[in-house]
Symmetry: C2
Subunit: 363 residues, 2 copies
Amino acid sequence: MKKIGILGGGQLGRMFIQNALNYPVEIHILDPNPEAPCSKIAHRFVVGDFNNELDVLNFAKNVDIVGIEIEHVNLSALKKLKKLGKTIIPDPEVLEIIQDKGIQKDFYLNHDIATAPLKDKNNLPNVQKLKKGGYDGKGVQLLSAENFENCWGEDSIFEEQADILMELAVLVAQNQSGETAVYPVVEQVFNPEYNLLDYLISPARIDEETAQQAKDLALKVVKKLNSPGIFAIELFLNHDGSLWVNETAPRVHNSGHTTIEGNFCSQFDMMLRTLLDFPLGNPEAKLKSAMFNLIGASGYTGKAKIQGLEKILNLPGHSLHWYGKKMTKPGRKMGHSTVVAQDWDGVIQQIETIKKEVKIISE
Amino acid sequence: MKKIGILGGGQLGRMFIQNALNYPVEIHILDPNPEAPCSKIAHRFVVGDFNNELDVLNFAKNVDIVGIEIEHVNLSALKKLKKLGKTIIPDPEVLEIIQDKGIQKDFYLNHDIATAPLKDKNNLPNVQKLKKGGYDGKGVQLLSAENFENCWGEDSIFEEQADILMELAVLVAQNQSGETAVYPVVEQVFNPEYNLLDYLISPARIDEETAQQAKDLALKVVKKLNSPGIFAIELFLNHDGSLWVNETAPRVHNSGHTTIEGNFCSQFDMMLRTLLDFPLGNPEAKLKSAMFNLIGASGYTGKAKIQGLEKILNLPGHSLHWYGKKMTKPGRKMGHSTVVAQDWDGVIQQIETIKKEVKIISE
């Protein structure tokens, strides 16, 4: 039986394991937090730092294939493991491109992949992005003449601000044989308070031509990255109809969560297939779907509790995904709700009920 | 956080846990086999005998609610626990009816629930059913003048042989508030070699009126049992159009497996809702679905291996459910494959491919 080792044991790893239990495979997890969402359900859970070279090397000794659920992992270990013949998915070279937003931007520009043009730091307004360490909207800010004194000192890129009509995302999987599968385009609606995804609609409410262009652009990114794995390509649809790649996550992604209930093959099943070099699954949608992030409410820190859960459990197409994190704090992703329906109205109505009724508080 | 204790740690428990991980709840399991399918993923896994009074009493001390994934469990312990105020689902009284096929038959007859009439042992042909210990078609035989010498000596009932056109099943859930949910009728096709379910089609290919009658009959069984829980009512559709209740399982059931991918609320999610006294979910079908049991092939005993898996992974609506059992033997349920599609042809074609390509062998 194949042994897959995953760097990171958060909610993405947890949902990956929930599905991987359907296959004859062992899942091993490396995470520094002994209470991480994967800790109780991995075949083997190793407490260790995926950013530490030795921890990663030791962990990988006992597995056949190494995958990730977070991109900020120790590269030098993965490169050594690759040299030793271990299968690493995605390729460490891809992680090197993704981990640094400067290198990532150069990659898009060098391969003629449409993206926001770079600007000079002093050419305002512009968008500052820290080259390293940003996640979930952190490490990005809009700079103008009025707030230029807030400009961060760390290594950054500065780019033109997109004239955003809609934020889109496309998941693309590529297996070890080079076969690809492209999911329907999804539409992301952001929560302005935390700059986290508020809710997501799949497929996006855009015309077919724009959808095809978005899928082509996402597929081009993955073809140029030239690595097996599953990738989430986040795109801006600008008011003039142009599409820009914002950034790429080399892993399963928040924007793909509705694929569990809404699509024939979920992103987690697709990830497993890329790791095991299986034929890819069917990315198409069974129904319309939407997803709402359950985020720790402002003013509540402590043992988490879902307020209003019973009020949404009888929605006709609702599924809860609680991540098993004990403690909530403002802005922390504690779970998500997915809804499915035959049409967009059906999913949006359910999302509105969830937004109204549910709140993540502390006991 | 509520603690649910489940008696039994087989594949039903495993699929229950896979879904329960989506909720803020702890799942504790009691099973005599330290390598049972639930052993690696339960919050707490206790090695012990669910038929032993003391084992059940000790196990239940640390949980709030007791459920089952097998009906052959120690009744006396459950009755004591109920007296002490513990929530037991289903009611121990229901298990008492179900565990003995004589009592179960009397229950149907006393409540005017259509079922095969009892016959005298010597009035041949008839169907002999052992009162206790039968499962998966074991403990049932057709007696005729030719084979009457095979008549078992153990306590049995003898009933009229149904004139079967089709075997059907209906899942019904009832929560602690008496709310009920009835799933679409499913059609069971049996493997004559092992008398195990070969494949299952959901919804059944029957007219609406028959479907409604089957659902009404199943609901009547559950209303008369008068207990919360989830129940699988197996029915014979006779050639004359009449419906007879064959037997009732007071738990999630093989005939409900396609609800994971095919229905809005899976039987495992519905079970959890009955245990937590949540509003019930939506039992309706998203799509047509079918399920094929992956059964250990004749002539293979040892470490299990799926032959032909790669040939079915690219079917457009296929999902594998491997139960994590190490050893295969002829007739052992090792997993199942579910397929979904827009129409019945779409599911049957995929089932035919699976039947042709896949075989559970040993290494």
